[in-house]
């Protein structure tokens, strides 16, 4: 696939009788392959999801510059489900039934994924979901390119309880009120209990999407920390509610050395809207940070900056997962020789990509990627200082052993 577009077109024009190999028909032939983009461009999740739309568009442009796939051009179909969960299902149906897309990249919140799941299963669509989530799911129509709890949440809490993380023995679980935080916290509570932390040492609080008044909760966390045991916050707060939350942490003087806060949904993009100076040392757990050294990441960042034409825009973990998923899908389509969902699904298993995080990631038969775990501390410039990473990419346990009713299920 190294031929340039012009040379390929010229070749095709020169000899129509020249039989090209089946996987490489001429670029001009066939209708374009349609790539659906199902990300909120407005509403409370726009802060996080807009960059993912741009990433998919960047990948489409990149794939076309490489000559497309199967000799066909790619074409993006963008819709805006507006952070409105039922609308996600309607837009998904529109993409599959009206626009007849071959693949869809989309969703951030688990509630939106749960909303579109029946539509993708009914119409046998193909969804790439790029965000870390709570697990307990495995649809044959979805490939999960973000982390499962054992690739993010559990290692992060383990770190907080270790020597480097401050040996926390009391944990405040703060989250937005929907399925992802509630399930993750259920897993974490079972995990903490198994590590000898009693329920009395766990605080759990939920707030609505877009919550802005954090004074009461932050002062309750302070009180919770005043019981003579090292305390840490585990945040599954999603969307723009994070901005007033971190502002309140800063204003109430909660320093990372005293009560570190580790977040699972806050990356470089979310920090771009906040004054990060009071937040230095607070943590985030992901599988990629923009500050990862190495060529794969340098290439990825250069590609993003060239596409977005703005040196100040950042990259983050879900963007990396979108990129990795897109490349795998391209490889699978080339291998299957078709964009039909069933052959592509078979071809996806075992696909490997050298991801920007610097590790080779593999799609397993459980529809999840192997991923490294990284923990970063917020630096003054809004980037992350990576203080911990696993030596290898680890396989996902999407059915958590800490959820009793599903523990026996294995992908």
């Amino acid at each position: 696939m190294t031929l340039t577009l012009t040379r390929r077109a010229a070749l095709a024009g020169l000899g129509g009788a020249l039989a090209l190999p089946a996987i490489r028909p001429s670029f001009a032939q066939g209708a374009p392959i349609k790539v659906g983009v199902l990300h909120s461009l407005s509403g409370t999740m726009a802060i996080s999801e807009t960059a993912l739309r741009d990433t998919v568009l960047m990948m489409v442009e990149w794939a076309n510059s490489q000559g497309g796939v199967l000799g066909r051009r790619l074409e993006a179909v963008v819709v805006d489900p507006a952070s409105n969960w039922p609308l996600f299902a309607e837009k998904a149906r529109e993409l599959l039934a009206v626009s007849k897309v071959d693949v869809t990249f989309g969703c951030w919140t688990s509630v939106s994924r749960k909303s579109v799941l029946p539509v993708f299963e009914e119409l046998n669509g193909l969804l790439f979901y790029p965000v870390q989530y709570e697990g307990e799911e495995q649809s044959r129509n979805v490939f999960y390119t973000g982390a499962a709890p054992n690739q993010q949440a559990i290692p992060a809490v383990e770190y907080l309880m270790g020597k480097d993380g401050g040996e926390a023995r009391r944990i405040a679980l703060l989250g937005t009120d929907y399925v992802y935080p509630r399930t993750t916290n259920r897993i974490l509570r079972a995990y903490l209990n198994s590590k000898g932390i009693a329920d009395a040492d766990i605080m759990e609080e939920y707030t609505p999407f877009g919550h802005s008044d954090w004074q009461g909760i932050v002062s309750r966390v302070k009180r919770f920390a005043g019981e003579g045991k090292r305390t840490a916050i585990v945040s599954t707060i999603n969307g723009d509610a994070n901005v007033p939350f971190y502002r309140e942490l800063g204003n109430q003087g909660i320093k990372a050395e005293d009560i570190p806060c580790v977040a699972f949904s806050v990356g470089e993009e979310e920090l771009a809207g906040i004054d990060t100076r009071p937040l230095v040392g607070h943590l985030a757990a992901w599988n990629y940070f923009m500050s990862v050294p190495g060529k794969p990441n340098d290439d990825f960042k250069a590609m993003w900056r060239a596409y977005i034409r703005n040196d100040r825009r950042v990259t983050n973990d879900p963007m990396e997962a979108t990129y990795t998923g897109f490349r795998m899908w391209l490889q699978a389509v080339a291998k299957a020789g078709s964009t039909n969902v069933d052959p592509v699904r078979e071809a996806m298993y075992g696909q490997k990509v050298m991801a920007p995080c610097g590790y080779e990631e593999e799609m397993r038969r459980n529809h999840h990627l192997t991923k490294p775990v990284m923990i970063g501390e917020v630096m003054e410039n809004g980037q992350f200082n990576i203080v911990f990473k696993t030596p290898d990419a680890i396989p996902a346990e999407n059915w958590s052993p800490f959820i009793p009713e599903n523990a026996s299920r294995r992908g």
Partner: protein, 516 residues
């Protein structure tokens, strides 16, 4: 022979000359793992060496560089002081564990600083570092200290350090002093010590109970403040509506979008002032009149262009203003993007203010309360004291009589609506400090605004004030044991029950106007 050598080596290491090199011994650890760094920082802090302070400060600010194992500071080798080229060197990275050790070590070295603020910060840092080795330094510092507020903190730090001493008598002294404090930190330290010293449990429990007694008052005061703060936000959001809906009876669903316009005006003013650094800290006060004008003009245009054609048709007004709200949202989204915009907080609005009794109040919330009361005063004065207010009240009470008296009712309608919208814009300036400046900023406040106005009594500014503050405090009192989500639900239920009993709200208007 070997024994003698070992003995000699031991003696040599105990000699003062060798001890001075504790600095050089510890320094290479800073280039090691986080664990090695933390240990090296502690040793540097304990060395008392004057060379340690600049190195530790540089490490904490990210100015200490490393190339392989060599540490560089200000273009020189940190160990030898010889000039060194900083090219290719990277800042030494630290984590929370090292940062905590640094805070303790820096605190220890700065206890005798010439600057009282530094001494205060040092005392607080030592308070948290939990090391009995700090006791002599603290005792010396307290003996010399002249500033009372610094001495108080040093006494607390000394008590905290005594708590981890070996001698139970010294421990008891520490417990007694900490028991007189009224802070959660002191309580946490005592409880930490309780687990380690079961024999002192009785004393510690008594001290903790004493702290709890004082904390109960502090917590009640803080809850009240948080309630008033939430109330002031509700008041700001609802005040404009109290005029457009309460006085004029227009159901304006685009009210939240006027608030949002005010917040974006704040952002625009801030960006415009970026070129003038000395004015930038004042961009917030300057935004207040600008936001009033922008939202007021938008309100006047809406009233003259659309609403006046729909007077007396509340359902159509509701639908039409709802549509206008969506158009405004989308227009802002197209102009500024869907991403949130960052409005900076001036330094005088950041951090906390501590009142006597250890009550902590966040500055930005305090300013919002003050601002909301100022805006309320302004609205009240405009309605009660100006000619425009007189005409407005006349038109509201009896439109036809007012018209026969020569009042141009159409103009008064437009001005009243513009005034209410302008107040919404001013609310947006304040909300930009505590919420996200995004196109859907207003949607979060529209329901709350109507709730406050209806609860307080339609047409009554005093009702709006009492309603907003009452709902704010009620919400914050319920929140600790019901959670943020249920607290909101509970408040809604309370309002529904209340409206059932008193459909006209807290402060019902009486007289002919109310019957019309």
């Amino acid at each position: 022979m070997t024994r003698i050598l070992v003995l000699l080596a031991f003696l040599a290491s105990a000699l003062p000359a060798a001890a001075q090199d504790a600095f050089l011994d510890a320094l290479p650890g800073l280039a090691g793992s986080f664990g090695a760094q933390a240990e090296a920082v502690e040793r540097l802090g304990a060395s008392g060496d004057p060379r340690a302070l600049p190195v530790l400060r540089a490490l904490s600010d990210g100015r200490l560089l490393r190339r392989d194992a060599a540490l560089l500071l200000n273009g020189a080798d940190a160990a030898t002081g010889a000039p060194a080229d900083a090219a290719g060197a990277e800042p030494v990275r630290i984590n929370n564990r090292v940062r905590a050790a640094l805070r303790g070590a820096l605190g220890r070295l700065q206890l005798v600083s010439a600057n009282p603020d530094e001494r205060l910060a040092a005392a607080d840092a030592v308070f948290r570092s939990r090391s009995a080795e700090n006791i002599p330094g603290l005792e010396a510092a307290i003996a010399r200290e002249t500033v009372p507020r610094v001495r108080d903190r040093q006494a607390l730090a000394l008590a905290a350090s005594r708590l981890v001493a070996a001698d139970p008598g010294i421990k008891r002294q520490g417990i007694a002093t900490l028991g007189e404090a009224s802070s959660e930190d002191a309580r946490a330290l005592l409880l930490e010590a309780r687990a380690a010293n079961p024999e002192l449990a009785a004393e510690i429990d008594a001290a903790v109970a004493a702290i709890d007694g004082r904390l109960a008052f502090k917590r009640a005061a803080e809850t009240l403040f948080q309630g008033l703060s939430l109330g002031s936000v509700l008041l700001l959001a609802a005040l404009g509506l109290a005029i457009t809906f309460g006085v004029m009876g227009v159901i304006n669903m685009a009210h939240g979008e006027f608030v949002m316009l005010g917040a974006y005006t704040t952002f625009v003013v801030q960006e415009a002032l970026r070129g003038i650094p000395w004015l930038l800290p004042w961009s917030l006060p300057l935004s207040v009149p600008a936001a009033f004008l922008v939202a007021g003009l938008a309100g006047a245009a809406l009233e003259r262009g659309l609403i006046r054609h729909l007077y007396g048709r509340p359902l159509e007004t509701l639908l039409m203003t709802f549509g206008v709200g969506m158009i405004l949202q989308q227009a802002v989204r197209l102009a500024f993007g869907a991403q949130n915009r960052e409005v900076l907080s001036p330094s005088w609005m950041q951090g906390t203010l501590s009142l006597p009794g250890g009550i902590l109040i966040t500055q930005n919330r305090l300013w919002v309360i003050v601002f909301s009361l100022l805006v309320l005063g302004l609205a009240f004065a405009a309605i009660r004291l100006t000619r425009f207010g007189l005409e407005m009240r006349a038109v509201v009470q009896n439109r036809r009589t007012a018209a026969t008296m020569g009042i141009r009712t159409g103009r008064v309608d437009a001005l009243t609506f513009a005034f209410g919208s302008g107040i919404a814009g001013m609310a947006g300036v304040a909300l930009s400090q505590i919420d996200n400046v995004s196109p859907n900023l207003g949607t979060g406040y529209i329901i709350d605004s109507f709730m406050v106005v209806v609860f307080g009594g339609v047409g009554s500014l005093v009702g709006t004030l009492v309603g907003a503050m009452g709902l704010g405090v009620l919400n914050k009192v319920i929140e600790p044991w019901a959670g943020a989500v249920l607290a909101k639900v509970a408040v809604l239920v309370v309002i529904m029950l209340f409206i059932q009993r008193r459909p006209r709200g807290l402060f019902a208007l009486r007289g002919r106007a109310a019957e019309a």
